[in-house]
């Protein structure tokens, strides 16, 4: 799908006549706009609904909002919600195809898929690569979806965070856990950093952001000291510069952060393409 984005006319008529509703009940720049660009590239019509500008602010329930939107002849619904399982709840109750664009601290499947695409583009494979995911693991839907995706594709995954942010139940996925940053950097092909999710009270899990920066920020110094040649840095965005990464690391030649954004459009186009059309009988 990515080749369409490189054409003079970045539009194909595939989803002409199909309406997609983007229900974003949590703030988003990348995911929402990436979905909008993907939908428009495939010629779908879009409506965007956010929490503050809709009747949700007046107390309408999620199911009522979704049913009303469906009554406007919408074919697909992209939903981001702060409650884990909200997309699943809707999928069972309305007829449109539902795409999960992130549900609370649960899952973010489209992000994981675009990350896998970015990794495969760079390395030509996923199997056997060493990937370290570093940061606010416990609050991160990206960590969960990406870990599942990477393990499924045969990569080795190390999770690294301060102890309160590193739940042991992640061990069931066959990953390694560490509290020490040098251990996570050493031997890894890819460092995947995560933001401290202050909107989910993450600051109460660590003594202070200042202390976190001292032990867990990826900077040029610790890359030079511990990382192997050709290491790649990824981040799902938004980046808090100076907390997860220093600016020189985020903007360096090893950074694939902007490739991730472009690939996000391609992945979302592929998902919309696969889920559109007639439901199988």
């Amino acid at each position: 799908m990515k080749f369409i984005l490189e054409r003079p006319v970045k539009k194909v008529p595939t989803l002409r006549g199909i309406t997609v509703a983007n229900l974003f009940f949590e703030p988003s720049t990348r995911t929402l706009n990436s979905f909008v660009v993907a939908e428009r590239t495939l010629s779908a019509d879009t409506i965007n609904i956010s929490k503050s500008f809709s009747s949700v602010a007046k107390g309408e329930t999620l199911l009522d909002t979704a049913r009303n939107i469906e009554a406007m002849m919408v074919n697909m619904v992209v939903i981001r919600h702060s409650v884990p399982g909200a997309p699943h709840y809707l999928a069972k109750r309305i007829n449109s195809s539902i795409i999960n664009a992130g549900d609370g601290a649960h899952e973010h499947p489209t992000q994981a898929l675009l990350d896998l695409l970015t990794i495969r583009e760079k390395f030509g494979r996923i199997k056997g690569l060493n990937v370290s995911i570093i940061g606010d693991i416990i609050h991160s839907r990206v960590a969960r979806s990406l870990t599942l995706g990477l393990k499924k594709m045969g990569a080795n995954v190390v999770l690294c965070a301060p102890p309160p942010m590193l739940p042991e139940w992640f061990l069931q996925y066959g990953v390694e856990l560490t509290y020490r940053l040098p251990e996570a950097i050493k031997d890894s092909d890819i460092i995947y950093t995560l933001r401290i999710q202050t909107e989910r009270e993450a600051e109460s899990f660590i003594p202070s952001i200042r202390e976190y920066r001292k032990f867990y920020t990826i900077n040029y110094g610790n890359l030079k000291k511990y990382a192997k040649e050709g290491i790649i840095i990824m981040h799902p965005g938004p980046v808090n510069r100076g907390v997860e990464l220093t600016p020189d690391v985020a903007d360096g030649p090893w950074s694939l952060i902007l490739n991730q954004v472009t690939n996000g459009i391609a992945i979302r186009m592929a998902i919309l393409y696969l889920l559109s059309g007639r439901k199988e009988e």
């Binding site: 080749f3 054409r7 539009k11 194909v12 595939t14 059309g277 007639r278």
Partner: protein
């Protein structure tokens, strides 16, 4: 299912040579660009290019398009087909495009291909080159270069096998069981 041979490998080769000759007679070689429709039009396009190379020492750019995203029956399809990429090696502005496909039937694929090509730019002219024209058009589309013309009933299938991707080579008419 019964299978009847319509064209032998030798006949395919002769047809393509004749088509290449006709293109040379009728078009401005300097402006030519061949675009094949996946999965077999692109192979036929490459073969026509090779014939040109041998005859005239001129190398014509060959591109390929996948029309899946432009189909008019998209929303009624069940499982979604895999999409191959479309690659056009040159700017198509001012070019004469030879659009190549293996079989021409309803004309819907050609319609989709024309739409896709126009999304890449504005060629001076598009000509249609077909190995087998089996009749049964549903759109006002008429080929310019034809390998073989044959009337085939709606229940039968014309299969083109090319050695590059199939085990054998030849054009076959396959009778489907049922009404006939």
């Amino acid at each position: 299912m019964r299978r009847k041979l319509l064209m032998t490998p030798k006949e395919i080769k002769n047809s393509l040579e004749r088509i290449a000759f006709e293109i040379k007679e009728r078009e401005d070689i300097k402006k030519l660009c061949i675009i094949g429709i996946r999965n077999r039009g692109d192979i036929l396009g490459k073969r026509i290019k090779e014939i040109f190379m041998k005859e005239t020492k001129v190398s014509i750019p060959v591109g390929v398009i996948d029309i899946t995203l432009y189909r008019d029956d998209f929303t009624t399809l069940g499982p979604k087909p895999l999409i191959g990429s479309s690659e056009i090696p040159c700017k198509i502005e001012g070019k004469t495009i030879i659009l190549v496909d293996d079989v021409l039937y309803t004309g819907r694929t050609t319609r989709a291909a024309l739409d896709e090509i126009i999304d890449f730019g504005r060629p001076e002219k598009i000509s249609l080159c077909i190995l087998v024209d089996r009749g049964g058009r549903e759109f006002p589309i008429c080929p310019d270069y034809i390998g073989r013309k044959v009337e085939v009933g709606d229940n039968d299938i014309v299969e083109v096998h090319l050695k590059e991707i199939d085990k054998d080579e030849g054009v076959f008419i396959v009778k489907r069981g049922g009404k006939h």
